[in-house]
């Protein structure tokens, strides 16, 4: 099995190279086949590895010594264990479906750009695989940087538009801020342990003083905050919707943003040592969940609603990690990948049908014309709202249970965020698919169901959203604790203790059903309408305008930095450095002009200088020792 491991990242890398270098001669279908085929191959290898790990457990494969200096060694090694195989399956599986979707969605691009798109997408999958397969923090960091780069490239895919480029830059810079924290954490780990390999670090972790563990974990969390869009570094994610919809689905819903979760789940040993960090993670996660949910309530762009929903769900995942339920966080990653990718791809299908329109105030009643899209989308909405026995219900319930065991106060806030989630998702569903059509006449004509390449991934993901949760069905309902037990060697399992567990589960089930019925009725009344202005006043406007956080960042950070850069450019660069460089040239010119006047052509002058020189030479020669001593004293 060890021989197969390197194939998993190798296939996407080959796809990247072929599509990138040869995109002009290849045809679109060839590019699609290569781009999607390599991900399928990686998925197949991942399945083989999964069965192998189920029997034999994890393994570490060492390839070569990446950094080999006196003091520490960083090998280029892959560690495939239960945690990474789950992520591998998610990445390659959902990734393959999205590649398939993209072959049809991006069909109108020219071959050149089509190939560019697929090469970037393959590069992204490669980096993400590197991230989850690395055996030490440095390899993870390489993948981390790689996915940040691909996110930038793909958000700015339609580079002719300036605002898209700005959004891409914003994403990259905010990621970078997080990366500083991550790097500092790596340095600290190297200083404390002398190595960055997971096995060695976690073995020696108990010897660490609490302050060091707190510092390292907080710094790692800073990295996660940047990558996974938590407070305060989340504003790039809604702007990142400027990229093509499949990109939003893959990167900003299913995979890249979950890199932070992976990192913290991997480092659970370190986090268990420091209660302060766990508290910080939980509270920031919860705050983000609530804040993003409030903003999503009043957004009018279909992708922005989904973006804020992603931020909110990521907050839930961090909440799970923070309260110690690491496996639950990973479980929610998996289910979220299913239904969020489904929702994004469905949104893409809707946008395609509406001819590029993304404003939901202009949609409505689409369920009649787009049956498959609307049914899969509705399944996705049910999953994310926690409709009983969908995958989202099971994972969200686990999170809520774990939070309740940790702190009842946080529990009620989490419930509030879950209710808001249901409200805004139902609002979205009603506004888009029910009620009367609010768009223009041509858009009504253009409405048609999408081609099968777009629909097949939707159907597959809808099925997974429905049944994917059953691998971790709580025992109360008759399931086996499969995922928890599977991950147990790497990530401590969540335990359900006590007799009160069953009661709580039933309360949750009942509460969910009642809540969802109320929300359904309310949103149907308010939003399944034919006229929807979409303009808000007062408090609603604050929410619709995202609590003005973007404007805050702009004034505090962006504008001062821009003016500083402008200052440096005009004053320091132009007057300072340029003046020095040009001034040197001008000075040389001037002095050469002056010295040229020595050549007067007058013989008398020349003889004068000769005599003076002889005088000086004589003096120097005569007083050699004195001059040498003097010079030595100076220098």
């Amino acid at each position: 099995m060890n021989d197969l491991i390197y194939l998993v990242p190798l296939f996407p890398l080959i796809g990247f190279l072929i599509n990138g270098l040869f995109r002009k001669p290849l045809s679109k279908s060839a590019i699609s086949v290569i781009g999607s085929g390599v991900i399928l191959l990686s998925f197949i290898v991942s399945i083989i590895l999964f069965f192998d790990i189920k029997e034999h457990g994890g393994t570490i494969v060492n390839y070569y010594n990446f950094i080999n200096v006196e003091g520490f060694k960083i090998p280029f090694a892959f560690q495939i264990d239960q945690l990474s195989i789950i992520f591998l399956l998610i990445i390659t599986g959902v990734g393959f479906l999205i590649h398939l979707y993209s072959t049809s969605y991006m069909h109108e691009e020219s071959t050149d750009h089509f190939g560019r798109y697929f090469s970037y997408l393959n590069l992204f999958v490669f980096s993400m695989l590197l991230l989850v397969m690395g055996a030490n923090y440095v390899i993870m960091f390489i993948g981390w940087e790689g996915v940040g780069l691909c996110s930038y490239l793909l958000i700015g895919y339609w580079f002719k538009n300036d605002s898209y480029n700005y959004a891409a830059k914003k994403a990259f810079v905010m990621n970078r801020i997080g990366d500083v924290g991550f790097l500092l954490a790596i340095f600290w780990i190297l200083k404390d342990f002398g190595t960055a390999n997971y096995t060695e670090v976690f073995a020696k972790a108990s010897t660490l003083p609490v302050s060091d563990a707190t510092a390292i974990t907080l710094l790692l969390f800073v990295g996660a905050v940047g990558k996974s869009a938590q407070i305060p570094l989340y504003t790039w994610l809604p702007d990142a919707m400027a990229g093509p919809t499949p990109v939003s689905a893959l990167i900003h819903a299913a995979t890249m943003v979950t890199a932070g979760i992976y990192m913290i789940a991997r480092s659970n040993v370190l986090y268990s040592l420091s209660h302060i960090s766990q508290d910080v993670v939980a509270i920031i996660g919860l705050a983000t969940a609530v804040l993003a949910a409030t903003i999503a309530l009043y957004q009018n762009d279909i992708k922005k609603v989904l973006a804020y929903s992603t931020v909110s769900q990521l907050g839930f995942m961090f909440l799970a990690l923070g309260v110690g339920a690491y496996t639950t966080g990973v479980f929610h990653v998996m289910t979220h990948a299913f239904f969020k990718a489904l929702l994004f791809l469905g949104a893409g299908s809707v946008i395609h049908a509406m001819g590029g329109e993304q404003d939901i105030t202009k949609m409505g009643g689409l369920s009649k014309k787009l049956p498959v899209t609307s049914w899969t989308f509705i399944i996705g909405v049910l999953a994310i709202s926690g409709f009983p026995f969908t995958s989202g219900f099971i994972s969200k319930d686990e999170i809520l249970m774990a939070t309740y065991a940790y702190s009842p106060l946080l529990f009620w806030f989490a419930v509030f965020a879950a209710i808001l989630t249901a409200i805004y998702m139902f609002r979205l569903m009603m506004l888009v698919f029910f009620g009367g059509f609010r768009g223009t006449h041509e858009q009504a004509h253009h409405l048609h169901e999408s081609p099968s390449a777009l629909l097949i991934p939707l159907i597959v993901l809808a099925v997974l959203s429905l049944i994917g949760g059953f691998i971790q069905l709580p025992e109360v309902y008759g399931g086996h604790d499969f995922l928890n037990q599977f991950l147990a060697p790497v990530v401590p399992a969540v335990t359900h203790e006590g007799a009160g567990v069953a009661t709580k589960d039933y309360y949750m089930l009942g509460g969910t059903i009642v809540g969802l019925i109320i929300i359904f009725a309310a949103t149907r009344k308010f939003f399944a309408v034919s006229q929807f202005e979409g303009r808000y006043t007062g408090f609603k406007k604050i929410l619709a305008d995202k609590w003005y956080i973007d404007e805050l960042y702009d004034t505090i950070i962006v504008k001062p930095l821009n003016s500083l850069a402008g200052f440096l450019k005009s004053v320091v660069e132009k007057s300072g450095i340029d003046a020095v460089v040009n001034g040197t040239g001008r000075f040389v010119n001037y002095s050469s002009r002056q010295i040229r006047l020595l050549q007067s052509g007058q013989v008398g002058n020349y003889i004068l200088f000769m005599v003076l020189s002889i005088t000086v030479l004589f003096l120097v020669f005569w007083n050699q020792e004195i001059i040498v001593q003097f010079l030595q004293k100076i220098f």
Binding site: G604, N605, L608, V611, L612, I614, T615, F618, L619, W622
Partner: protein, 167 residues
């Protein structure tokens, strides 16, 4: 003060005075004449040092031939009155300063020089300057440079004739 010393100082003063008059004369012919006086004074010094051969040769070659040549050229270009434009006063100033500096350095160097600390130049005695002794050394050891100097003269003559041709 013995007669030697008086003679030495007199000849030195004469030489220096005449040299300065060479510089300061407006008329070039006067400069030539003053230079001839300098040569005579120097020949006097040679005689004082008993370098008889050199004294005579100095008079014959320098005062007799070279200065006459100078006079010929001055006559040829008809340079009897001074038509020299006034030179830049700064150049004169700097020239004098440089000369003075050079003199100062020479004197101070020689004062602290080790090898000449207590030596004297013997006056009026010694066979060194006698023509027999000089001739013996010249034709024994320095015969080759002697012959080569004749070639030097030949080339100088050829050169002078070639340069001076009017064509």
């Amino acid at each position: 003060m013995s007669i030697d010393e008086i003679l030495f100082w007199f000849l030195s003063a004469l030489a220096l005075f005449s040299a300065i008059m060479v510089l300061l004369s407006k008329n070039p012919v006067h400069s030539v004449l003053w230079l001839i006086v300098v040569f005579f004074a120097i020949s006097g010094h040679y005689l004082l040092l008993n370098a008889q051969f050199l004294a005579i040769v100095n008079i014959i070659v320098y005062a007799g031939a070279i200065m006459v040549l100078f006079l010929f050229v001055i006559m040829l270009i008809n340079l009897n009155t001074e038509t020299e434009r006034q030179q830049n006063i700064w150049m004169k100033f700097f020239g004098v300063i440089s000369g003075g500096l050079l003199l100062w350095i020479f004197i101070s160097a020689s004062r602290s020089a080790y090898d000449v600390a207590n030596k004297t130049a013997m006056l009026k005695e010694g066979d060194v300057g006698l023509i027999q002794n000089l001739g013996k050394v010249l034709f024994n050891e320095y015969a080759l440079p002697f012959e080569i100097s004749s070639i030097l003269f030949l080339s100088a003559m050829v050169g002078a004739v070639v340069i001076g041709k009017k064509d």
